[in-house]
């Protein structure tokens, strides 16, 4: 069975075509600048070099047509006929409280995803556009929605309700939802496999450290708490987002600088975090470079980043009543020995101890980087959200065929 995984943004579509017998990506690629002049499609078949095509791609319908064409093309393609695409899995950012697991997309499901636009105005509309485009370009092929929020649906109310009037939760659905679900799910299962233990026996903290970053307390396979909240702004210090902060700060700044809601929103989401504190970059590699070169605010940003993460590790260890493993994943987590080291420094009393050598040589690989004596295992595991989407899609389509 071949499954096409799509992640549709406002002007971009990322795709991968999986052969599910081998769980192998036959091709992956991305279209950017949809709706603008000079749209670009970059496409990488597994066995040939990457190709780039530019042209006019006006909307998501045309874009999905391009994706299908290049998957079928004689020179760059990996399949012969569009009937070889058996199902499509979509990343959908917000599933609200309605969707607690991946679902087959029907008219009703689509309508309910649309009802959730209010909760994710920047993401859900584009995800919906991608689904509608596939309805046109690949009619009759089953489509599945995989939600960023679904993995966290078992969080208890004491973790997800905010300390504001309860009526806000009832009225507007204001609560912690959490994000990066497929990634936290993937790496926690991988970690269980690496450790050779059933996930039901493990207490883990998964640290997804990418441009956006979140930590998740995975207690025997279930997310019981996570650092991102109602939106992906809460929690860790990120590339351009502030993470946790006294909410009164923004009210004060809005008053002082006479900011509109929009301005305040971009201040917190795009001008804060590593870039806001350091003034250097939102990219951790550049922050570390600058910090090593003596840039004091870059050093401060790095310290804040790791200190915040350390606090979460402490609090989630307590929340779960123990800890068996910490997993680092995504861009920074997989590739930054410095961040992993700073974060784990001084946590020996919790039974957390890195193997210095292993940590330093582990870049983008799946490795247990803790010392032999470390009671808590520390792992670096490259994430694969697309594979989670493909697996969920396959499971749902298989079940549907059985019924």
């Amino acid at each position: 069975m071949n499954i096409l995984v799509l992640n549709c943004g406002s002007s971009s579509i990322k795709y991968q075509l999986f052969d599910m017998e081998k769980e192998f990506a036959l091709a992956k690629g991305m279209i950017s600048r949809i709706g603008m002049s000079g749209a670009v499609l970059s496409h990488k078949p597994f066995d040939r070099p990457e190709v780039k095509v530019s042209g006019e791609i006006l909307d998501h319908i045309q874009a999905t047509n391009y994706v299908i064409s290049i998957l079928l093309s004689a020179n760059h393609g990996v399949i012969k006929d569009r009937s070889e695409i058996h199902a499509i899995g979509h990343r959908v950012v917000h599933g609200g409280e309605r969707f607690t697991e991946s679902v087959l997309i029907t008219e009703e499901v689509l309508a309910e995803i649309r009802n959730l636009i209010d909760l994710a105005p920047l993401h859900n509309p584009h995800n919906i556009r991608g689904i509608q485009a596939c309805n046109k370009t690949l009619p009759g092929i089953p489509q599945v929605a995989v939600f960023d929020t679904a993995f966290h649906h078992r969080m208890p109310p004491h973790a997800y309700v905010y300390g504001i009037p309860y009526v806000m939760y009832k009225k507007y659905g204001i609560r912690r939802y959490g994000f990066h679900g497929p990634s936290h799910s993937y790496v926690s299962h991988r970690a269980a496999a690496v450790l050779g233990k059933p996930i039901e026996e493990l207490k883990m903290i998964t640290c997804h450290l990418g441009n956006g970053a979140s930590v998740c307390a995975v207690d025997r396979g279930a997310s019981i708490d996570t650092s991102m909240g109602f939106t992906p702004l809460e929690g860790l210090l990120m590339g351009t987002r502030c993470g946790d902060m006294d909410p009164a700060v923004i009210l004060h700044v809005m008053g002082r600088e006479e900011l509109s809601l929009h301005e305040a929103n971009t201040l917190l989401n795009k001008h804060s975090g590593l870039i806001g504190v350091s003034g250097v970059s939102s990219d951790m590699r550049e922050i570390i470079e600058a910090a090593n070169a003596g840039h004091s605010n870059a050093k401060l940003a790095l310290d804040m980043y790791c200190y915040r993460l350390k606090k979460y590790i402490g609090s989630y260890t307590v929340a779960m009543g123990g800890l068996d493993a910490i997993i680092f994943t995504a861009g920074v987590g997989e590739n930054s020995p410095e961040v992993r080291e700073l974060t784990c420094q001084g946590l020996g009393f919790l039974g957390i101890e890195l193997d210095k050598g292993k940590n330093e040589t582990t870049i983008g690989k799946e490795v247990d980087i803790s010392s032999d004596n470390s009671r808590v295992r520390v792992l670096a595991i490259p994430t694969n959200e697309e594979l989670v989407i493909a697996r969920d899609t396959k499971n749902i389509v298989d079940k549907k065929i059985l019924h």
Partner: protein, 313 residues
């Protein structure tokens, strides 16, 4: 997102503001004017406006680059042929607008929709010179377009339901709330704001209060973002006066008679933000700068204030 090209004609304050608002949504828009130099000047001013937005935390450098890349400048009216929507945003002059619409009507395919951005002119009268009166509609955006969340959608006598629907979709794309108005001089916003501005000028002229205090009173008292005099400066005093004269011509009501102070300031070339001086002083970026304007001296009007009064300030 409309799958059709948008072209704006007129790279003035409104045209480029609209281009900025459209490009910010991720949609491409051609900004066209008589010469490529003028069109590019419009882009330069848009860059300034985006730079200002960055200082207000509203955008990042990367956003700015992406937005500007979506606004190609042009001086070739032929590009309108490929557009699904053509927006006319040239000066508020019925003769010029009619000439342009006539030219576009000859040039563009039958199905192209024309949006005319006017604050006071008659859509029906503008549409009459074309063969597509049902596909012409007025959309009155307010300055600064990227910031003001409302647009008056003005139906002419013959504007079709389908065109109206497309205009509403366009407003949705921009994230603006459309207000339907039927054709009548000044529509809603201009008709109501203009006498208010005029009255503020009378109050100033009659020496009831200072410009600063008049604005403060209205801002704090009635929740205006800008006081009436600062608002008039931002709109351009010549523009305010031309609106009043249009309303006066159409409706013959004394209340639309421009305040003598307004007439004098326009004659003196003190047109507000764009000339650096109106009721207040402005720097090149259009930011208010401090400094008392000796209105009584420069335009010789109103009762002179006593020296003692001035020293207290």
């Amino acid at each position: 997102m409309p799958a059709s090209k948008i072209v704006i004609i007129g790279a003035g304050v409104m045209g480029r503001g609209l281009a900025e608002a459209i490009a910010t949504t991720g949609t491409e828009v051609v900004l066209l004017d008589r010469t490529i130099k003028i069109a590019k000047l419009g882009i330069d001013k848009t860059r300034d406006s985006l730079d200002h937005a960055i200082t207000r935390w509203a955008l990042t450098e990367a956003d700015k680059k992406a937005i500007l890349s979506r606004i190609p400048p042009s001086a070739d009216l032929q590009v309108a042929r490929e557009a699904g929507i053509v927006i006319e945003s040239i000066p508020e002059n019925i003769r010029l607008k009619r000439e342009l619409l006539q030219k576009l009507d000859d040039l563009c395919p039958e199905e192209t929709i024309f949006i005319t951005n006017t604050a006071t002119l008659s859509i029906t009268e503008l549409a009459a010179v074309t063969n597509r009166a049902e596909r012409i509609i007025g959309m009155h955006f307010l300055n600064p377009v990227p910031k003001i969340p409302v647009v008056e959608v003005v139906r002419g006598l013959k504007t079709s339901d389908d065109t109206y629907k497309r205009a509403r979709e366009f407003a949705d794309l921009l994230g603006k709330t459309p207000v339907l108005v039927y054709e009548y001089p000044g529509y809603v916003t201009t008709r109501i704001i203009v006498p208010l501005l005029n009255e503020a000028m009378h109050v100033l002229m009659e020496g009831v209060s200072t410009a600063e205090d008049i604005d403060t009173a209205m801002k704090l008292g009635y929740g205006f973002n800008l006081g009436p005099l600062a608002l008039a400066d931002a709109m351009g005093l010549d523009v305010v006066m031309s609106w009043m004269e249009n309303l006066l011509n159409e409706l013959s009501e004394h209340k639309y008679n421009p305040c003598p102070l307004l007439r004098k300031m326009v004659r003196a070339g003190h047109l507000g933000v764009k000339t650096g001086q109106g009721f207040f002083l402005y720097d090149k970026e259009g930011n208010r700068i401090s400094g008392e304007i000796p209105i009584a001296e420069t335009i010789k009007i109103g009762p002179p204030r006593s020296d003692a009064d001035r020293k207290q300030k």
